[in-house]
Homo-oligomer: 343 residues x 2
DNA sequence: CTGAAAGCGCTTACAG
DNA sequence: CTGAAAGCGCTTACAG
């Protein structure tokens, strides 16, 4: 009963003004709750807006020079559980603050990235969050001329741009330290390709942990893959074939961990009996898979909230200080890591 | 080198017109590729737009009465793998057709749903796709007065609204038929609550399959849960405890299947040795979990593409015929179903 | 407390 | 082939 069916769908501020016998300026003021309006006219206007089911046009108000209250989000793939969870948390926080978000998956393909960035510009989004690895410093600087930008789950340290990420180096180090503590010495690492800068950092952490333990680096134990299930499994199978001395593998995310476990199982190895595997991210996957994954957790909820808050801060006041927020990863112990020497 | 750094970020059509020594109407025509423009002026305008790094404002062009080239998408939860994959496919198709999509997760909470729908109206999206179960017929009819609507992965058969979904009834029947063929007779079903209408249909399929096999219906074998991991596992444990005659369970989605398998394993039951489990959806999960899930596949890619095409068709021509597209599910055999009577 | 008027950056007939 | 002008639905000083 709130809306009268006969009224044309595209009711405007003029219709409201006319019926309420006030000016559109007055209507605008009650909509936005600013200016001094008498209680009675306010009530009248509100009632009429309600009766007509009027919804003010954000496109018109955006044109008037205000914001679009829209954020752009660039991620590699929405179907990737980690980015789906990140996107969900970003969405939640943005909505809470009155912003909507346009999510774009790029698959790390330059032409898609470029297209989406142009799209964001044309849409006049108020700011953009970048979670893909294929946007270079020059592109970001260019974008920064038009609107605030914030990085999520990655960073370009040399660039003055807000960023929130987990300490990937530390996380990688923690993962390998846990493996070392469990007695493992021959430890491989499976990482994503260089488009995922974070993977590189995690591998650095892997090297640091080994070094600290006095274990010499063996480049044959480092494998980089593109995130395709078949390719990952093949790479893992190859690794297990050629390096039978392996007792543990650190995989740079949970999905890789799952695939590596499958590859191990297909070769008759039990996890963690014959092979220990530790993941990274702590997505929904980690707890649902068998065996449940010991992994390094990223605080995805905090990260999503923080990156939105940083970006909105910049939107409100462009002169605010740029920040690099680095969150601490956390070791989550489940069942995919066992003591060495049982195999 | 395409853009000149000194130019203010907010270049408008007036700036282009001025520098190109033409009218804004002419610039508008070259942007949109309509009207007759001489090759030389076109070239000149294009060059200047390039030099100034000009991107036309979609908010201004939207206001002029055209479209916003934006779609709204309402789903229960972006972090749910099924909806993440659906959203990804919708995004891909929409982008391909020049539209962006605003994704909103509602968690099936009425206040969120209502808020998001109002948001879509204010944003003047060109159409909305609904994949949540909590939007009733009245709300949809109301929304239809303002813009085209299409349903994904659900339907309200009595309502004249475009919809694309899989045949849930048939899928449920196929799942249980497969279990029956494997010799199972005592088969339970674990479904989501009634907000997921599709779950109800799948349970109907379950009943039909049993009936056709001459097995009488046992309401104690039907359990409904809300999709919370702990609750699902508790419900499954309870079911396994009280009904030790069970040899198979049909779960209404892959996530439930995974949780049921965990619950079974925690009770010392092996899958499929002691208990067979068949899922639904065929998300990424199904192939990644252990044991890999035998499940009923939904053609998510086709569904995403189709629902976008239906909606865009309606946007282009509102008088076009409304369609209910029902896709066929497909049985995907992996390893979670075994022959009965081994336990 | 209220309103007239200019302006946001485009598109679209219409005239030439 | 090109341009002047009206209009899309708002907001924002400014005046009263």
């Amino acid at each position: 009963m709130a809306s009268v069916g006969e009224v044309p769908a595209n009711t405007t501020i003029y219709d409201i003004a006319q019926r309420a016998e006030v000016s559109i300026a007055t209507v605008s003021k009650v909509i936005n709750g600013n200016g001094r309006i008498s209680t009675s006219t306010r009530a009248k206007v509100v009632r009429i807006m309600h009766e007509l089911g009027y919804e003010p046009s954000m496109v018109a108000s955006a044109l008037t020079g205000k914001q679009t209250f829209t954020l752009g989000l660039l991620i590699p793939d929405l179907a990737n559980p980690f980015f789906a969870e990140i996107a969900r948390n970003i969405e939640d926080r943005a909505h809470h603050m009155g912003f909507s978000v346009i999510i774009c998956s790029t698959d790390n393909k330059p032409e898609r990235t470029e297209r989406n960035i142009r799209f964001f510009k044309q849409k006049r989004v108020d700011g953009v969050i970048i979670g893909t690895g294929d946007v270079d410093a020059a592109t970001i600087m260019d974008l920064l001329k038009m609107m605030p930008v914030a990085l999520i789950a990655r960073d370009i340290p040399t660039l003055a741009v807000d960023a929130v990420r987990v300490d990937d180096f530390l996380g990688g180090r923690m993962a390998v330290a846990h493996l070392l503590e469990s007695g493992h010495r021959r430890i491989a690492v499976v990482a994503e390709d260089e488009l995922f800068v974070s993977s590189l950092e995690r591998v650095r952490g892997y090297r640091a942990a080994l070094e600290e333990a006095g274990i010499s680096y063996d480049s044959g134990l480092v494998v980089q893959v593109i995130p395709n299930p078949e390719i990952v499994k093949a790479a893992a199978a190859d690794l297990l074939e050629t390096r039978s001395d392996l007792t543990a593998i650190f995989t740079c995310n949970d999905l890789l961990a799952t695939l590596v476990i499958q590859a191990a199982r297909e070769r008759g190895l039990s996890v963690p009996g014959d092979l220990s595997v530790i993941g990274f991210d702590n997505t929904l996957h980690a707890s649902i898979v068998y065996p449940p994954l010991t992994t390094i957790a990223q605080p995805m909820e905090d990260m999503g909230r923080q990156v939105v808050d940083l970006l909105l801060g910049k939107i409100k006041d462009p002169t605010i200080t740029t920040q690099k927020v680095i969150m601490l990863p956390e070791l989550i112990i489940r069942s995919s890591v066992g003591a060495a020497g049982k195999g």
